[in-house]
Symmetry: C2
Subunit: 147 residues, 2 copies
Amino acid sequence: MDKMVTSREELTRRLAAFEEKCRRRGLRVTNQRREIFKTVASSRQHPSAEAVFLAVRQKMPRVSLDTVYRTLASLEKMDLLIRVGTPEKERFDGDLRPHAHFICTNCAEVYDIFPPEVSYENPTTLACGKVKYVHVQFKGICKRCQS
Amino acid sequence: MDKMVTSREELTRRLAAFEEKCRRRGLRVTNQRREIFKTVASSRQHPSAEAVFLAVRQKMPRVSLDTVYRTLASLEKMDLLIRVGTPEKERFDGDLRPHAHFICTNCAEVYDIFPPEVSYENPTTLACGKVKYVHVQFKGICKRCQS
DNA sequence: ACTTAAGTAAGAAATATTCCGGATAATCGT
DNA sequence: ACGATTATCCGGAATATTTCTTACTTAAGT
């Protein structure tokens, strides 16, 4: 899908966190889960479920699409990745450092924006419920679509 | 769907803006469009396309779901409403004043948060493209789902 | 080695959204 | 005001995405 953009050490650290969280929840650390997580964690392309499936199939040709969907959902529950809603479909982000997204409403491309510009928990949000993430999405037309 | 929460004068003003924008783009001001816009503009429930459809059908039983989808899309293009992505489906908001949303990842309910806490356009976002909106979404579990 | 969660396959279902061909009605020119 | 033009609507069908079902196989954790 794309070349590795996360440093080897960072990836190792994330994989360790993944295994630890699985164990704490009593979920088995299967090769499929590890591979699916690694794919999202080592990419900055905000892949869709379909893209993850295609990438994982390179190494594990017998993996099923259903497994990818189920695993992405469980990884999200374990707070190992976040879901980014685009005009077209769901995309996933394994980078949990706080940052914002620019989402093109035309081509659905997702761009990362560092650093974040938001204040996090505050009295008003606390009144609503327990905040897990703050998604800051700048929606508009990206440079590529403008030309 | 829900009782009118926007003042009569405000709604009249928004309807006038709606007609004016339609005319400027050469779009016909049909009863269906007016009713669909009015439904979203007079609600603070962030209705889904389906919810808008059900509400509009009370007054216009023959309206089709397709018309609702097409109309919501065109209203979005005209900057008359914004789209809020939830874990389950798209929801719409006729309130264009800058504000943030708390979205429950469990029940997909959308809560308004005033005032906004975000800085808007900045050098980083400008590098990506032309920003039309900034969606600030606080994702988490709402009070109701916690209990 | 045993137990059992998890994965596979193939199909079907559920859901959301969009497309199509023909009918209707809003706007425009006269 | 009237008919022509053409956007818009309608109902139903199609598509796309995601999830579920069943029965069987694999392999993780003890």
